[in-house]
Symmetry: C2
Subunit: 350 residues, 2 copies
Amino acid sequence: MKQTRITIKDIAKEFGVAVSTVSRALHNSNEVSDELKKNICDYAAAHHYQPNMLATSLRNCRVERTKTIGVIIPKFVHYFFSCVLSGIETTASHLGYSIMVAQSDETYENEKEIMQRFNAARVCGVIVSLAKDTKQYDHFQELLNIKVPIVFYDRICTELKTSRVVVDDYAGAFEAVNYMIKTGCRRVAFLGSVMTLEIAKNRCNGYKDALLKNHIKIDDRLILQCDKQGDAHLLLPKLLLDKDRPDALFAINDDIAFEALQVCRELNLDVPKDVSICGFSNSTITKVCNPQLTSVEQRGYDVGVEAAKILINNAENKDEDIKIKNKIIETTLVVRGSTLPMPLNDNDGN
Amino acid sequence: MKQTRITIKDIAKEFGVAVSTVSRALHNSNEVSDELKKNICDYAAAHHYQPNMLATSLRNCRVERTKTIGVIIPKFVHYFFSCVLSGIETTASHLGYSIMVAQSDETYENEKEIMQRFNAARVCGVIVSLAKDTKQYDHFQELLNIKVPIVFYDRICTELKTSRVVVDDYAGAFEAVNYMIKTGCRRVAFLGSVMTLEIAKNRCNGYKDALLKNHIKIDDRLILQCDKQGDAHLLLPKLLLDKDRPDALFAINDDIAFEALQVCRELNLDVPKDVSICGFSNSTITKVCNPQLTSVEQRGYDVGVEAAKILINNAENKDEDIKIKNKIIETTLVVRGSTLPMPLNDNDGN
DNA sequence: TAAACGTATGAAAACGATTGCGTAGAGGAA
DNA sequence: TTCCTCTACGCAATCGTTTTCATACGTTTA
């Protein structure tokens, strides 16, 4: 006796009516007598009837689709991305959408395979942040061709015509570096990451422009690339033991900033007196190290909310051409103990 | 000219054959001539044909279903849960499954609504960790009744007959407390959480048994309940300023342990000389505070892997009755600076 | 009274893929 | 020639739901 889910047919049989009548009754159509309607609805509720979304979506293939959106995240175990996912999920959930999620693990192959799975599952749209590895975009174009909307967040793709939600990386970096200069730092180093990513370029540009605005020359020796954990330990000591050592470090993310902090500690450099350090993301790590890290608040949750809103909006107006939206989430500098305080006599002309 | 997805029908029309022939060709049946087969496959590949999973799943309603599993997580922005999700996703992905994920935000209402959505989407099974709020289980029973397998992880439900994957909370707590006692601590306090959760009870029992085994009386005044952030700040100072103050704190999670560490710092108590502190989870926070936190490694990733394996196994053998499996993931104590070193002359009889 | 209309329901097609069964035609065996 | 077999395909049902069209019966209107 295999108990299974109740369908509209079972209900029809129960009442000796046609399935169409049951369907209408459940949709509260006024073409069904009130009595029958009530009986059918009561029966359905009592038996926990849940319409089969597969069937509904299949029938409305070119209309409503699955009310499911696909989300690609480079890595789950990551503060910023967790926040974004949380924002997406909360927003989608409120609007009646489910989310299907997968991690690319920073490789193009995974990303491609995920896009295929999402396509097979007939998601209404995809929200994605690029893997570090990704240099070609055919797997996205394929979905765009068949009018599936895509929204990029954080690590966007500038080659494709899609909506994007980004943090104002440039302004965030500019503000942070400008702040450190105002507190008296003169040689600010940049601890960056892979330069193919748009975010890396933007943060680097913000860094450079802040220097220029303050009439400080850009010194390429002060621009490092720390791709993976441990890189800072390899590269920084040489720089910090130099007689011309930097008096400030601006890191592209909090993890690298923290590693830099450790290196300073190991080299007996005082933070912030000898070296100021500023990170990016304002993740939990900033509040628990000693001294606490100054960092740029990235508002991941808001990024997720905006991305979901834009995507769902696109998905629900499929008839029209997809409207491209670029949303920029403003950052805020959160000052803590790893940077110097602003001098009192500072009449900032800006 | 609305470009849309290519279906099996379009291919059939293209070649002037029946859809059944196309289907067989794509499945490499030998009932189709090699030439036609090759042409059809080439054409399908060139046009990025992806079989519509909705249709396939609908047809195989009582057999294969959707190759999608639902995952409920109390909160996304949480180290342990991120690890679990990562483990689930990686495993599921390798086995060709997609995951649909939602956060309960610790409320029963959300959990219930999510289960309904998962049911409508016809997921093959659900992996869930209970919300703190949940005290009734009808929403789970409903799915179990129609033979949808459920696997609980971490915060399990003992009232339902389902598979479970848990961390060995008892042993983890026992080992941690036992360790602190061996290093010389005599008054160990427990900073717990809501006691309705199974994990809270187990960790508390491990704590108590470690005391008893070492012939230390349990003192109820040393058992505190810190549910939300800030509670430790409210409750701990009183305890720590007492002349009879504890010389060790065992916290139910790392966040509370860190808060305790802060309180100690504020009260000018040295950690670990005056007070040893041990947390639970071995999250990133443990490595970045000062001193670094001793903690119980919870192996979230492995929890996720096991949960996914068990669930998929259940889902794929639907004909048989669901086999209930209880998997216990062993913990390890990771000793760091927030606890005393083990004395050298210790001949641990255990 | 006959025509028109309204109400409540049924029948059937459609969405896309799979699969059991049927069959036309080619070729071989008796 | 007749019968059989094999190859290579087509037909149609199926999954659950929605929606268009059709229709039976009762009521109103001209």
